[in-house]
């Protein structure tokens, strides 16, 4: 079993190869290549307009690339080109083996249905047909993301910003995904709530052995969560490496600027 696990961990989960995306003359993303391994957290940092979000959309198959390809190792162990997957397969992947945490929880949640149904939706989508078990699983996940189970029947629009974001995370993790994409998960939250959310995320990621691609402009988030960092500017990856190495000893002038732009508290 141990051998099997090592073997699994040795093979990349997600491979980006020469990814580019251009909108007419504007190249939003140029020649991005990397491999992401199971359990690894990769942060993509850079200023607005640097192509981070475009890259995230390319990786998650929401946007067709102008060049290059993304491959993903499916649960059956076969690595497949995402562009070659049928729409049904891609959507199934999206609601079972993947998660996507939006910056704005309203985009990732159904604001008008209860928290329990929000968490249970993915389960029902994969054929769970037992109310009691769906509810049990939903309460379990609410507890894990530190939401009071008494609020399971309340709609997310009655929740605070931090709670919504935690609910969104629970909703994504309920099917036991192996890869989660996060787009500025802490954006728009106040600092104490951010700290709690990051703490929670760090625990969940370690506990569930999740691979994560997290897009952020906040270097503190990158430092706290990620193992590796990719710095983007003008659609290119200008620097990549271990988080501590890149943030403590930045090589590129732009990264140096980025790191030095953090205001001391």
């Amino acid at each position: 079993m141990a051998d099997f696990d090592t073997l699994e961990a040795d093979r990349p989960l997600l491979i980006a190869d020469g990814l580019s995306k251009s909108y007419g003359r504007i190249a939003a993303c140029r020649d991005v290549s990397f491999s992401l391994y199971p359990g690894e957290v990769l942060a993509i940092v850079g200023e607005s307009g640097s192509g981070k979000s475009t890259l995230l959309q390319l990786l998650s198959g929401q946007l067709a690339a102008s060049g290059g390809q993304v491959s993903y190792r499916m649960r059956d162990g076969v690595t497949r080109d995402l562009a070659a997957l049928g729409e049904a397969e891609r959507r199934l992947l999206f609601r079972t083996d993947w998660g996507f945490v939006h910056q704005d929880p309203a985009q990732g949640l159904r604001m008008a249905v209860s928290a329990g149904a929000n968490v249970g939706e993915r389960l029902m989508a994969v054929g769970w047909n037992h109310y009691g078990r769906i509810r049990e699983s939903a309460s379990d996940w609410l507890t894990r993301v530190e939401i009071d189970v008494a609020r399971i029947d309340d709609a997310p629009r009655t929740y605070s910003g931090g709670m919504r974001q935690r609910l969104q995370i629970a909703r994504n993790l309920v099917t036991g995904p192996r890869l989660v994409f996060m787009d500025e998960p802490t954006g728009g939250l106040d600092v104490s709530v951010q700290a709690r959310l990051l703490d929670l995320l760090r625990n969940l990621v370690a506990e569930l052995h999740l691979a994560v691609v997290i897009v952020t402009h906040d270097l503190a988030v990158a430092r706290l969560l990620s193992h590796r960092v990719m710095v983007m500017k003008g659609g290119r990856v200008i620097e990549t490496g271990l988080t501590d190495q890149v943030l403590d000893d930045p090589r590129e002038p732009y990264t140096q600027l980025l790191v030095s732009s953090i205001l001391p508290p």
């Binding site: 729409e87 049904a88 959507r91 159904r110 249905v113 209860s114 329990g116 149904a117 249970g120 939706e121 993915r122 389960l123 029902m124 989508a125 994969v126 047909n129 037992h130 109310y131 009691g132 769906i134 509810r135 399971i152 029947d153």
Partner: protein, 302 residues
């Protein structure tokens, strides 16, 4: 001057052909919503413009038409549509479920079991069962195409979470032929079991939303539910006050402002048939055979 002002059954032949093509496609793919070029009809949307177009397209000179609204043959909507086709198509009309060959209905399926030579035409306001959960038409179409129906259970989940049981009482979603999830129009869920393996052809027309869908005869129709909260048809726990029926769908009629109410069959033809056969309920006027109401009124007038 004697030339008829309208083509047979109001719509021109080209339009009827277009609607028939949509109907054929709908029958070929049970439960699938086929878009069609819905016409304006001489009645407001919401009064059965879809049903009327379907009826106009399938009606032949030999057909016998019955129109019901909430089970009743004598409400404004039912009478108007019946008169409309009597005038524009010259077809025979009836209130008897047994004799009719085409039955246009709003919100009910007749109590009497249907037979193979009948077509049931439903008036549908909102054909998309996923609409209130997913507002985007592009997305709901994709969900139908990929048979992604988890969202439908989200609605049922919400019901149980709020009310402790599946509180959806009408427009209860069904799965047709183990493929498409369909809105059975706002019929009470009491009627859902009647759709399953029905010998009659069932056609659904939504005029405003421009969709036609169908359940061919003897097609499997399953009401969605949870294992631990199975589908249950709902019925007021009372016999019909006029005919004593214990198994028909009942209307609740408030009879004064002190909380009194009576429950009567919503299917008037079924109720009258039973009364004519000698059944009677707690509130029926005696003697039942004399048609007391009509005579009493004549006397009062005369």
């Amino acid at each position: 001057m004697n030339a008829p002002a309208y083509n047979f059954a109001y719509l021109d032949e080209q339009t009827k052909r277009m609607i028939r093509r949509a109907i054929l496609k709908a029958i070929a793919i049970p439960g699938y919503q086929v878009p069609f070029a819905s016409r304006e009809m001489p009645m407001p949307y919401g009064w059965g413009t879809g049903g009327v177009q379907v009826t106009a397209a399938i009606l032949g000179p030999q057909d016998v038409l019955k129109v019901i609204d909430q089970g009743s043959d004598d409400t404004t909507n039912a009478i108007s549509i019946r008169k409309f086709f009597a005038k524009t198509a010259g077809v025979a009309t009836t209130t008897s479920t047994e004799e009719a060959t085409v039955i246009q209905t709003r919100h009910r399926i007749p109590e009497a079991s249907l037979h193979a030579n009948q077509v049931l035409v439903y008036q549908v306001p909102i054909p998309e069962p996923l609409r209130f959960l997913e507002p985007r038409e592009t997305e709901t179409r994709r969900m139908h195409a990929l048979a992604e129906y988890g969202l439908m259970h989200v609605k049922l989940y919400e019901d149980i979470a709020r009310f402790g049981h599946i509180a959806t009482a009408y427009a209860y979603p069904v799965k047709v032929n183990a493929r498409y999830v369909m809105d059975p129009s706002p019929t009470p869920k009491f009627d859902n079991p009647k759709m399953d393996n029905c010998p009659a052809l069932q056609l659904f027309g939504a005029g405003r939303e421009k969709r036609i869908y169908a359940i061919p005869p003897h097609t499997k129709v399953v009401s969605l539910d949870f294992e631990d909260h199975p589908f249950e048809p709902y019925r007021f726990n009372a016999p019909c006050a006029l005919c004593g029926a214990e198994n028909s769908y009942l209307d609740e009629i408030v009879t004064d402002d002190k909380g009194s109410r009576m429950f009567v069959c919503s299917d008037t033809d079924y109720c009258e048939g039973r009364q004519a056969a000698g059944h009677h309920g707690a509130l029926s006027a005696a003697p039942y055979k004399d048609k007391a109401q009509g005579k009493a009124r004549e006397k009062a007038n005369g």
